[in-house]
């Protein structure tokens, strides 16, 4: 469904130097597949996500969705950012409806759907509140609802739980898996957390930095539905160890 073919991305830094963020990245993502991108800072995983989302264009190669080259943000793509990035002046309901309003497609059905989504993530009764009245976890839940309000086929998530505390993070991880099971979507998920990637993904794409490229793609053969108990399984252990080795090299494991 999503085809990334030989994509490279070079940024012009402020002092005029060219910074190569991605080189020769190729990746095929199937419909309703959950793919996690992991790697150290500067490996270009967020850039890759932005390329798929049409927020930035590749310097070389091609990104396409169902055969159409991505040249700008598409209406069938939903974004969840690292911070909830809610509009502080708008109510939670208006924040969730924001994409529909921006695209000029807002209808009563969207309002109904927004309320449904908020109920699904446990935010029923908070529709009229403002973001500052919600905790960080609740804000990010609203951020996820916002990404889902247009019922997009593709969900792009850029370290969505990165700014949350560990407990909220686990809670939202479970919630995301439930949402993905209820309404299957193609999900591209950037994270720093290896266990999170393994638990969520069908495939984990491990990236390496300078220039950003794909080091290896690892299939995760854990059955669904998944939960945190699976962390004890040997498939889980093997996958996390393999990813860790790829990122840090085997030396780091011996030291640990």
């Amino acid at each position: 469904m999503i085809a990334i073919e030989g994509v490279g991305k070079t940024f012009q830094s402020r002092d005029g130097d060219a910074v190569e963020a991605l080189r020769g990245v190729s990746l095929q993502i199937r419909r309703n597949e959950f793919v996690c991108l992991v790697g150290p800072s500067g490996c270009g995983k967020s850039t890759l996500l932005r390329l798929v989302g049409g927020l930035t264009l590749p310097s070389s190669g091609r990104v396409s969705i169902d055969g159409t080259t991505v040249a700008e943000p598409r209406s069938d793509t939903g974004f969840v950012f690292q911070a909830a990035t809610l509009l502080p002046w708008a109510t939670i309901l208006d924040n969730v409806l924001f994409p529909a309003r921006m695209m000029g497609v807002l209808t009563g059905a969207h309002v109904e759907r927004a309320r449904e989504l908020l109920t699904m993530v446990g935010l029923a009764g908070f529709e009229g509140k403002h973001p500052r009245e919600l905790s960080g976890g609740m804000q990010q839940r609203a951020g996820i609802c916002r990404a889902l309000v247009n019922d997009p086929d593709i969900l792009l998530m850029d370290e969505p739980f990165g700014a949350l505390d560990a407990l909220t993070r686990e809670e939202l991880t479970l919630e995301l898996m439930r949402i993905a099971a209820e309404r299957p979507k193609t999900i591209l998920f950037v994270t720093h957390s290896i266990p999170e990637a393994v638990l969520l993904a069908d495939r984990v794409v491990v990236m390496s930095p300078r220039p950003g490229r794909i080091a290896e793609i690892i299939d995760i053969d854990l059955p669904r539905p998944r939960d945190f108990d699976m962390e004890a399984r040997h498939e889980f252990q093997d996958a996390t160890r393999r990813i860790r080795d790829l990122i840090f090299g085997s030396r780091a494991r011996r030291a640990a």
């Binding site: 989302g53 943000p73 509009l87 509140k129 009245e133």
Partner: protein
Amino acid sequence: MRGKSAALRHAREVFVPLATIAVLFAAWEAACRFFAIPAYLVPAPSAIWVDTGKLAGPVFHHTVATTVTVLLGFLASFVISLPLAILLTTSPTIAGVIYPLLVLTQSIPKVALAPILVVILGANELPRIVVTFLVAFFPLVLSVAAGLVAVPPELIELGRSCRASRWKEIWRIRLPYAVPFVFSGLKAAITLSVVGAVVAEFVNADRGLGYLIVTSTAFFQVPVAWGALIILSLMGIVLFQIVVIVERVFFPWSLSSDRPGAS
């Protein structure tokens, strides 16, 4: 309990400044009497009160005239500054054209410009409003423009990811974000509007508190001039507070976006 302490705090907020002013006036009165300062130099508050009170009717009409000029000048500042700031921030080319012109309008001494404006626009309300506008609008434009470009890149990115048009980006993201900046500009503009209106009245008017100050000092009615001065500062305070209240009532989120919720 919270309500009581809030009420107490509120009372203190009102009481302390009022008490300060009362003490100041008392000291002023005492000094005038003790040192026997002649009223044509510095009149005592009581003399100001009595002499201005004798002219209560005309003073009221002068006050209304000045208020009208201030409000119309302020309104013009608001209506013109907002689109101007949007223009300034949307295109570097337009900014390059407008910025030097803006700076030019600010480098012209308004007092010197006022008589010329009377020649051009006639001896009526219009040149007074234009002078008031010219004095008041500049900080407003700058602060609205600053607000429009201060939007965090994440919010702009959010707009782009939602395929927001340029116009919707301004209307739904940049302008709401700029509201606190708009209000800090408005607070400066309302204060400057009073200054501008008085400057305009010095040069060209047959009524208004500025005109009253000029005529009463010319006829050695110094206490009346002081009375006009006090009314002008009261007007400035009241108008400023109205702006503050409008912000508090209609844009409560703009005051402190990081304050924990009231619930």
